[in-house]
Symmetry: C2
Subunit: 211 residues, 2 copies
């Protein structure tokens, strides 16, 4: 088994923080997306969608998509449980992880991809060119991040971790999203005291070093 | 248990097709999003993110997000299995379901929300106003749909169903995405024969009547 990885990119960081929580190490192959290595023929044979991370199994099966990789690793290494133990807990973890992705992560990604010169003509992930940046997505993304921070601050006023009493993959998604947003100079408002309390707690975990 | 539903909207349709595959019926409450019922105070108490579907449990817990609801229903009604049985199968189903969402569903949603007069000033779901439509997202979405069709056509040349040998929730996501795209007049190219073969097979299932 090996992980196609790029340690400074946010989706690989989600897998690396997940692995650190599990106390598991996997051999990695670096795909430097800043040098466009994801568009090489050799990597397209691994993942035609030209994105990292990818987990290659010993039988040659390539599992792409961050959450699919994390779920596979949870099956192999069930402890500590990061996707929940019983039906309701599992559903709430999935709900909050997806909410972090759709409200937060995608907004931060839109902001970066539609503003940074590094992504000129590459407004969508996995496409080597021909996708012009759309400047209006930066402002839309900034507003979406504001709603994301407010929504999660309210949530974290009621619960210790994003999905409830226990640390889960939903916290990993949320933590990586906030770190990712900082790259486009978007930070949680000072008024979000609950979010700040939670962020400090997650940042103190050894696994946060992966992000 | 009850489902906040709107039978003509694509995310509720995913849950309804899933329920039909399971042979399960749940009492529903219609939230007519064409009349903006998702922004009422009573529905915001159910889901502050103002989106359907939501599954309300008997203890009052509200589970939002389509895939979180489907996962909960899979726990309650394991047969027929729609999220896979063993680790690799589960991971491939998650991978392909997410790929259908990120490459296809979100592109179709972008096209609709950024062109239809019904969504004027509501370019993002769950936000009652103040999000101007971005015309360039229509063309970007159309191009993304082209890549989605080609990618899934290639996949379905190698396997019977989207995630492998068995019908799964990944087929539901893909099927609903293609039906959804037709509303913005985007259809799979005639050359996508594998996709057409698969689409015909899925469309013939009784559960397709939910879409």
């Amino acid at each position: 088994m090996k992980l196609y990885d790029f340690k400074v990119a946010p989706n690989p960081q989600r897998v690396n923080m997940f692995l650190a929580e599990k106390g598991v190490q996997i051999p990695t192959v670096e795909i430097n997306t800043r040098e466009r290595a994801q568009f090489s023929d050799s990597f397209k044979a691994v993942n035609p969608a030209s994105q990292v991370p990818v987990l290659e199994l010993d039988d040659g099966t390539c599992i792409a998509e961050t959450m699919a990789i994390c779920r596979y690793l949870e099956e192999l290494h069930p402890e500590p449980v990061l996707f929940g133990s019983e039906a309701k807990e599992k559903a709430l973890i999935e709900m909050w992880s997806r909410r972090a992705e759709f409200m937060g992560y995608l907004a931060a990604a839109d902001m970066l991809r539609n503003s940074s010169p590094a992504f000129e003509d590459r407004g969508l992930p996995g496409v080597p060119g021909g996708v012009p940046q759309i400047a209006e997505l930066v402002e839309r993304g900034r507003n979406a991040m504001g709603r994301f921070f407010a929504h999660f601050d309210e949530r974290l006023g009621a619960v210790r971790f994003v999905a409830g009493d226990s640390f889960s993959v939903a916290d990993i998604t949320t933590f990586v999203t906030i770190r990712f947003a900082a790259r486009v100079e978007v930070e949680p408002p000072a008024a979000c005291a609950n979010l700040a309390r939670w962020f400090g707690e997650v940042e103190a975990r050894p696994s946060a070093a992966a992000v």
